[in-house]
Symmetry: C2
Subunit: 198 residues, 2 copies
């Protein structure tokens, strides 16, 4: 089973102040399953994690491609790590939001953990979907038309979500399964981009 | 005019990872206008600012009262500083959210800057109101029924909001005016607490 993602290429989309474990653990799990992984961010260079308990910087990692350059056509799935400052930056960037929305329009698997689902709200792809997240953003997910649940990991037609670092083993396991399955028709947004929250 | 807030007592509600200038500048401005100011937070002790550009801790300040102990009856107004991690913690705490909602139910002036308005979404007091914020949370404010505007400072019947640190002089000036005026009938929520986003 070590090569179930052989030939698959997965994008991780993140910015500064990401939660280190929520990027690194799924990254290693997908590589271990045979996938090629790339880091997409807002600018070239490096992004740096934030330890939110200690209010200090963590690991820095190299960006492979900017959201402006990247195209979902080139990937088989997307992962959105958490950290509260990270999605706050992504959702304010139209290239990043468009990149996220492309995966849903193409029916490709997406994993989002902790505050990662916040960017899904901005992309207008939450309506009618069932998902979990860090509990602090549950109101934003409900207000965006999503059905929020409190579960270690929830899978809804190719959308894999978890709440926090403690859930990462379950998250990575389901993520590998959904990516191995390929496209999911149920990922496609029911609302057109133009009609999403204005 | 230096004592226009003489006899007024104002609560600042914040948690770790607050934006330093967004707490300190209005704090000094309200004190300069004669108000007594108190810091309310989630726990006793100190809270520490986060410099989000440099991903490192800033100033620590002493907490006067916890949100569990504090009661809006004892204050004439409320200020919610920003910093993305700060409201993320506040909105997950039911005492903090209840404390915020009390000010609206009592028609008392409230100022919120940057990501501070995020806690207003959780308190269910945004519907039908016009406000600004850091642009990244505009979708959450709209999804909660608010009318989001991009202005240095916006005043809506006792609700004073601004976008970012550069707006703080304008924010503090309007905040002093609104607090000096006292209660505003238009602050009272149109929707009962039980009926706000579940």
């Amino acid at each position: 089973m070590a090569n179930e993602l052989q030939g698959k290429k997965i994008a991780f989309l993140a910015a500064d102040a990401f939660e280190e474990s929520e990027l690194m653990k799924p990254w290693e799990a997908l590589k271990d399953a045979g996938a090629q992984v790339e880091l997409v961010s807002l600018e070239d260079g490096e992004i740096t994690a934030l330890n939110e308990q200690e209010l200090k910087a963590g690991k820095s990692i190299r960006v492979d491609k900017t959201a402006e350059e990247a195209n979902a056509d080139d990937y088989d799935g997307l992962v959105l790590p958490g950290g509260v400052g990270n999605p706050d930056k992504l959702r304010a960037d139209e290239n990043a939001v468009h990149f996220v929305r492309q995966f849903f329009e193409q029916g490709k698997p997406v994993g989002a953990v902790c505050h990662g689902p916040w960017t899904l709200v901005e992309a207008g792809v939450v309506r009618g979907r069932t998902l979990t997240s860090f509990p602090s953003i549950q109101t934003d997910i409900r207000n965006a038309g999503g059905n929020w649940v409190d579960e270690e990991v929830h899978v809804d037609n190719g959308l894999v979500t978890s709440r926090k670092p403690d859930d990462l083993d379950a998250f990575s396991k389901k993520l590998v399964e959904e990516i191995a399955e390929g496209k999911h028709q149920g990922q496609k947004p029911t609302v057109q981009a133009e009609a999403t929250p204005s």
